[in-house]
């Protein structure tokens, strides 16, 4: 069709390949400091987490605050497949993501039918319950953690991140994504226009849980060990901050938010007590100067490189 091969996508593809090549090259030539390598993988994981939470909170306008719970489910189930069943990595990641999606569906089904903040309460509860279950399950190591061999490298992490973003972008930029956005914009009007609002809330929530589970699986297979306390409410809060910082409803915003926050906390790794302070200052500053987040609901675009914005290009065909 050639429709997706406009200038903008070409530049994006080149940029993605360039980032991959530079990092992979430095790893290959052994000039990549381990600390930087770790940060890069963490960026990948957080980009998937924040953009998938954005699908729920930003695009569909729901309020989920337990994303670390889905990450934990994905991480532990992926680890079980690898460690207990000696399954291949792809299968492990897939199982983790699917179990997480099923959990999301089961929680979303009763709570998303109701209006109001039931989802926030339910997801908050889920996050804690999941953590406590893993904490008390000896099968997966309990409090001391679950050792997992490291099978994720930069190529895997980056490739899966690009794939996840692509899937989410394609979903958002489709009639199904517009249906989700209409729920955020005006639920009553969406309903009156024939949109099954409950269905789309559940779809967005399940899809969000799927990718959070995938991120958890990547995390588990990179970190050598996963521990229940990693997936506390603070982790959920971090992800939420990235989404809000980048701009609720902007996919590129979530990517930027994840990068900014991960780099900031890596830079402050020696001063962990300052991390929370900086986060708070960043958030307060943002609420004052840019309450809609860095990018608002807009998408960062390279359209200045082409002749006209992507939006116009899309509407012509």
């Amino acid at each position: 069709m050639g429709k997706w091969m406009n200038r903008q996508s070409l530049v994006t593809i080149l940029g993605v390949l360039l980032i991959y090549g530079i990092v992979q090259g430095s790893i290959f030539m052994d000039v990549m400091p381990p600390f930087v390598a770790l940060t890069l993988i963490q960026i990948c994981i957080y980009v998937i987490l924040s953009s998938s939470l954005n699908l729920i909170n930003g695009i569909t306008g729901q309020f989920s605050i337990g994303h670390a719970g889905f990450m934990a489910i994905g991480g532990y189930f992926a680890a079980i497949v690898i460690v207990k069943f000696h399954g291949p990595l792809v299968l492990a990641l897939l199982v983790g993501a699917i179990v997480s999606a099923v959990a999301g569906f089961l929680i979303g089904l009763p709570t998303l039918r109701l209006n109001g903040d039931y989802l926030a309460i339910a997801t908050l509860g889920l996050g804690e319950i999941v953590r406590i279950i893993f904490l008390n399950t000896e099968y997966v190591g309990g409090a001391s953690g679950f050792s997992v061999p490291k099978t994720i490298n930069w190529t895997w992490a980056f490739g899966l991140t690009v794939l996840s973003i692509l899937v989410m972008r394609n979903f958002i930029n489709s009639t199904h994504g517009r249906a989700c956005i209409s729920v955020r914009e005006n639920e009553i009007a969406a309903d009156a226009m024939g949109i099954n609002t409950t269905k789309y809330k559940i779809i967005a929530f399940t899809l969000g849980a799927f990718f959070a589970g995938l991120a958890g699986g990547i995390y588990a297979n990179y970190m050598y060990i996963i521990q229940p306390m990693t997936f506390s409410f603070l982790k959920s809060f971090d992800i939420l901050v990235m989404v809000v910082l980048g701009g609720l409803g902007s996919l590129t915003g979530s990517i930027v938010g994840a990068i900014v926050m991960t780099v900031a906390s890596a830079a402050l790794a020696g001063l962990p007590e300052w991390r929370l302070v900086i986060t708070a200052v960043l958030l307060v500053a943002m609420m004052i100067f840019r309450p809609t987040g860095l990018l608002g609901t807009k998408e960062f675009s390279l359209s200045f490189l082409g002749k006209k914005g992507d939006k116009n290009a899309a509407s012509k065909n």
């Binding site: 069709m1 489709s174 249906a179 209409s182 914009e185 009007a189 309903d191 009156a192 226009m193 509407s315």
Partner: protein, 255 residues
């Protein structure tokens, strides 16, 4: 057989009977007015028809189907679409996206097509784009397709809301005070547009108006609602001279 048949419809909010024992029939391609003073229960009737509220009593039959227990989106799917007294656009979205969202239920493609960018995605999007632009053209909004909906002037927002409702491809269109806030010239244009829509789209229209004089010229039959009850019904001329109607409206004028 009438397109819409409302039988003994009642709705109470606590002690308040907002609608009581309502009987209305609408045939295919009729243009019917529902008028009455403020607070008479007109909007409540729309909310009952479209499943926003559950009825306390009565029966609503649309086509040959009973509408009991359906959610608003299901009612829309059956072919009834509405506008709102207080405009409810997707105000931060573009004009054309407002219309495309309304086409979603009839002109869609699978989620797999969307995610994997299969041919179905491209043909589905192209068709939605074409239909939406066609509809916007009818409403003289095609030049503003990429404009954010909330930036349109008030009259155009009203028109867009009607266009969006039509995109659901209804058999019956419910308009809730579409002329509210318009000046006399805009109102006159709107009434002509409504008449034209009925011809062009071959549908029935139920038009709520607060101002009696507006509907006299366009509607074939009129129902007058006061305190939740039908106090008069018939041709515009009969309504105009009906003492009960005059009284209901006079009472309001004093207040």
């Amino acid at each position: 057989m009438p397109l819409l048949k409302i039988e003994n419809l009642s709705k109470s909010f606590g002690g308040l009977k907002a609608v009581s024992n309502l009987n209305i029939e609408i045939n295919d391609k009729e243009l019917i007015g529902l008028i009455g003073p403020n607070g008479a229960g007109k909007t409540t009737v729309f909310n009952l028809l479209t499943g926003v509220y559950d009825k306390s009593e009565g029966n609503i039959t649309f086509g040959d189907k009973n509408l009991s227990g359906l959610k608003p989106y299901q009612v829309t799917h059956r072919g009834m679409a509405r506008t709102f007294q207080n405009i409810r656009l997707f105000s931060d979205l573009s004009v054309i996206d407002n219309v495309k969202i309304a086409y979603h239920q009839r002109t869609s493609y699978s989620m797999a097509s969307a995610i994997f960018r299969l041919p179905g995605y491209y043909s589905g999007e192209a068709e939605m784009e074409r239909k939406a632009l066609e509809l916007l053209k009818i409403f003289h909004l095609e030049d503003k397709a990429q404009e954010t909906a909330k930036n349109l002037p008030y009259g155009e927002q009203r028109r867009l809301e009607i266009a969006r409702a039509l995109a659901t491809e209804p058999k019956l269109l419910l308009l809730d005070e579409p002329a509210a806030g318009m000046n006399p010239q805009e109102t006159q244009d709107l009434m002509n547009l409504i008449r034209w829509i009925r011809e062009q789209f071959k549908l029935a229209i139920l038009l709520i108006e607060h101002d009696m004089s507006l509907v006299m010229g366009v509607c074939e039959r009129i129902y007058v609602l006061d305190y939740g009850m039908i106090i008069a019904q018939g041709a515009p001329d009969e309504i105009k001279s009906n003492p009960k109607v005059i009284e209901a409206y006079l009472g309001e004028e004093v207040v």
